[in-house]
């Protein structure tokens, strides 16, 4: 089976600082793969490398078998990979509905068209309503995104991420800053959208990670020290030493 994402010897330096020090990892299609590790381990950097936000210093990254190393972000997005951001990254001055609709325009073939209206297009309307319903935002569709509550903005962040129909989805700390009730909702949503997609999640909440993930990779100082099922990771002594036992995140 072709891996959804494959890292081969990926390195990233910022000047003399080595942030990612040789990553080899295969994300299987359909799995939920969690990345854990202490702050500064390079989890977000790894996301930024896959999505083209940063250039890799060495190594290769493949998406569904195709090399995407150092391609532009829009290029990678068009190939079926999308991501959410740790800090909410939405279109503040547009309505919730408009946010979601814009996020699917490219993938539904609307591209740069300036000779046709986006109104009354059945594919757009239906898909937007569907995504809004799935993320629980239907009742807020006319609200300006910048005026939403924090947890609704986080939901919109995910709505934008999945709207384009990408088959590989990267979520960067989807439950950060949420109350436990909100976290529970978010977990349900993530499980729901993972049914048809490969997912990679960076998450600090260990409850969420061990609850959701099929496999977990532990990243410490730019290297993966272990990859395995939640049970394997829990039993791994190296992980316990480096991370779980000593300074587990709250």
């Amino acid at each position: 089976m072709t891996p959804a994402i494959e890292f081969r010897g990926v390195q990233k330096n910022f000047g003399p600082t080595e942030v990612i020090r040789g990553i080899d990892l295969v994300i299987q299609p359909g799995e939920i793969h969690a990345m854990i590790g202490p702050n500064g381990a390079g989890k977000s950097t790894l996301f930024n490398l896959v999505t083209g936000r940063y250039h890799v210093s060495a190594g290769h990254i493949a998406l569904n078998g195709e090399d995407i190393t150092n391609r532009a972000p829009h290029d990678i997005s068009r190939k079926g990979l999308s991501r959410s951001f740790q800090v909410t990254n939405i279109f503040h001055r547009m309505s919730v509905y408009e946010n979601v609709r814009c996020a699917m325009l490219w993938n539904l073939g609307y591209r740069y068209k300036f000779w046709q209206s986006v109104r009354n297009k059945r594919d757009l309307t239906e898909r937007t309503d569907e995504v809004l319903a799935q993320t629980g935002l239907s009742s807020r569709s006319t609200v300006l995104a910048g005026l939403l509550s924090y947890s609704d903005q986080r939901a919109l962040e995910i709505a934008i991420t999945i709207a384009g129909g990408a088959n590989v989805v990267l979520l960067d700390e989807p439950t950060s800053g949420m109350s436990s009730a909100e976290t529970e909702q978010a977990v349900t949503l993530i499980r729901d959208i993972s049914a048809t997609r490969t997912m990679v999640i960076v998450e600090h909440d260990m409850g969420v990670v061990f609850d959701l993930a099929d496999r977990i990779s532990v990243l410490v100082y730019g290297k993966i020290i272990a990859t395995g099922t939640p049970a394997q990771i829990r039993a791994n002594t190296k992980v316990q030493e480096a991370y779980l036992g000593t300074d587990a995140e709250p």
């Binding site: 939405i90 279109f91 325009l105 300036f114 046709q116 986006v118």
Partner: protein, 420 residues
């Protein structure tokens, strides 16, 4: 299916544009209306960049002016049969295409970056083209500019564009067409994504869009409409000078659009009408006109960054839910307006007297202001104006918070009505 209410308003505007010149006989008023029509097209085009696309240009007159020069040369070429004949009715399209061409070429470079870099590059190109006007004399005509004669030959229905009234209808028709087209553009995938790249260029990339392409397209299309306006300008005044590509022209359009409001489609239209009117009528009355324009601009930027359209649209939720609430707000607004006018009267008096003293060479020290003859050599007019200004300023300090209170109270009530 278009909204019937909007269709109704549109029909009303068109009818008004048709009958307006019949009710006005003054040729000065007609020429002002022509300028307004051109300014509306240019302002809407500029707002495609600033309001819709989030690109602040200090040199958009380049595309307006260059298209004007091209238009003048094409018309002059038709007079001597150097160019194939195109009806003057359709000549604005030639200007549009010229604008589009320059927009595509320059935009490719300038839209690579947004924000400050874009603004600086636009300023650079404005200076560059202004410099070229004195170098490429065969095209720009040096300091004299290029003259043209819009009367080429008789067109459909015996139109010659000799009389000004025919030019008025030409401008009005193109203004309506251009406004409809630019409004339609806001609803296309391009238009929506133009807003997206304005709000958040980073996220735009991660939903599959090349931000440079989006900005470039917005820039090129905006230049097309700026060029259309430039062509109409050339036809209207039958002359294009080097100042049409200059920073002054670029600044005026920026100020118009900002005062009108960048956040609403009708904002630039409001700004274009208001500023052109003030420019036409106030510049004759007061030599300090530019000072007032600057003052209005600064006040809008500081206190109403949404422009006039933003101020009006603030009240839209109230009007929609409970129009009677607007009447409840009227006293507070009236009081604020009254104190503002008193303060303004004082300030204007002082400014006009200072201007009068510094510009009048004659020994005559009388200035006619508000229909009163003032002796600027005397102390009393100065004291009275200063007192008016101070009283108005103090009054504003008392009345403005009332406006804010009245507004938030009305909003609160409107919101309560919606939720129950």
């Amino acid at each position: 299916m278009p909204d019937p209410r909007k269709l109704g308003i549109g029909a009303l505007i068109v009818a008004l544009l048709i009958v307006l010149p019949m009710m006005i006989s003054s040729s000065f008023a007609l020429s002002v209306m022509n300028q307004i029509g051109i300014a509306i097209i240019f302002a809407l085009a500029f707002n495609m960049l600033l309001g819709q696309g989030g690109m602040l240009s200090f040199g958009h007159a380049v595309y307006f002016g260059l298209a004007g020069f091209v238009t003048a040369h094409v018309i002059n070429g038709m007079h001597v049969d150097a160019f194939p004949y195109i009806p003057v009715t359709l000549i604005p399209l030639v200007g549009g295409i010229a604008g589009l061409f320059f927009g595509i070429v320059v935009g490719f470079v300038s839209t690579r970056r947004a924000g400050t870099a874009f603004a600086m590059i636009s300023l650079g190109f404005a200076e560059l083209v202004t410099g070229l006007t004195l170098i490429i004399v065969f095209f720009f005509g040096g300091e004299e500019g290029v003259q043209t004669d819009r009367w080429v030959r008789e067109e459909w229905f015996g139109i010659t564009y000799g009389p000004d009234i025919q030019v008025y209808y030409l401008i009005a028709a193109w203004c309506v067409i251009a406004a409809i087209l630019m409004y339609a553009l806001t609803r296309t995938p391009f238009g929506r994504m133009s807003n997206a790249v304005r709000d958040n260029p980073e996220r735009t990339q991660f939903i599959g869009y090349n931000t440079h392409r989006l900005r470039w397209l917005a820039f090129a299309l905006s230049s097309f409409f700026a060029g259309l306006a430039g062509a109409l300008h050339a036809i209207n005044v039958e002359h294009v000078g080097f100042e049409t590509v200059g920073l002054g022209q670029s600044a005026v359009i920026l100020i118009m659009v900002y005062i009108g409001g960048t956040g609403h489609f009708a904002g630039p239209i409001l700004g274009a009408i208001l500023i052109t009117l003030l420019n036409a009528y106030l510049s004759d009355v007061s030599p300090a006109w530019y000072l007032y324009l600057g003052l209005i601009f600064v006040l809008i930027v500081m206190f109403a960054p949404g422009g006039l359209a933003g101020l009006i649209m603030m009240h839209e939720p109230i009007r929609r839910t409970a129009p009677y609430l607007l009447w409840q707000m009227a006293p507070a607004y009236g009081a604020a307006l009254g104190t503002s006018l008193v303060g303004l009267a004082g300030a204007i008096g002082l400014i006009e007297m200072i201007y009068f003293r510094s510009t009048t060479v004659s020994l005559d020290s009388a200035l006619v202001l508000y229909g009163i003859e003032l002796d600027t050599g005397d102390i009393w007019p100065w004291l009275i104006c200063a007192a008016l200004g101070a009283a108005g300023g103090y009054g504003c300090k008392m009345t403005y918070p009332r406006v804010a209170e009245a507004y938030s109270a009305a909003m609160h009530e409107a919101r309560a009505l919606v939720t129950t």
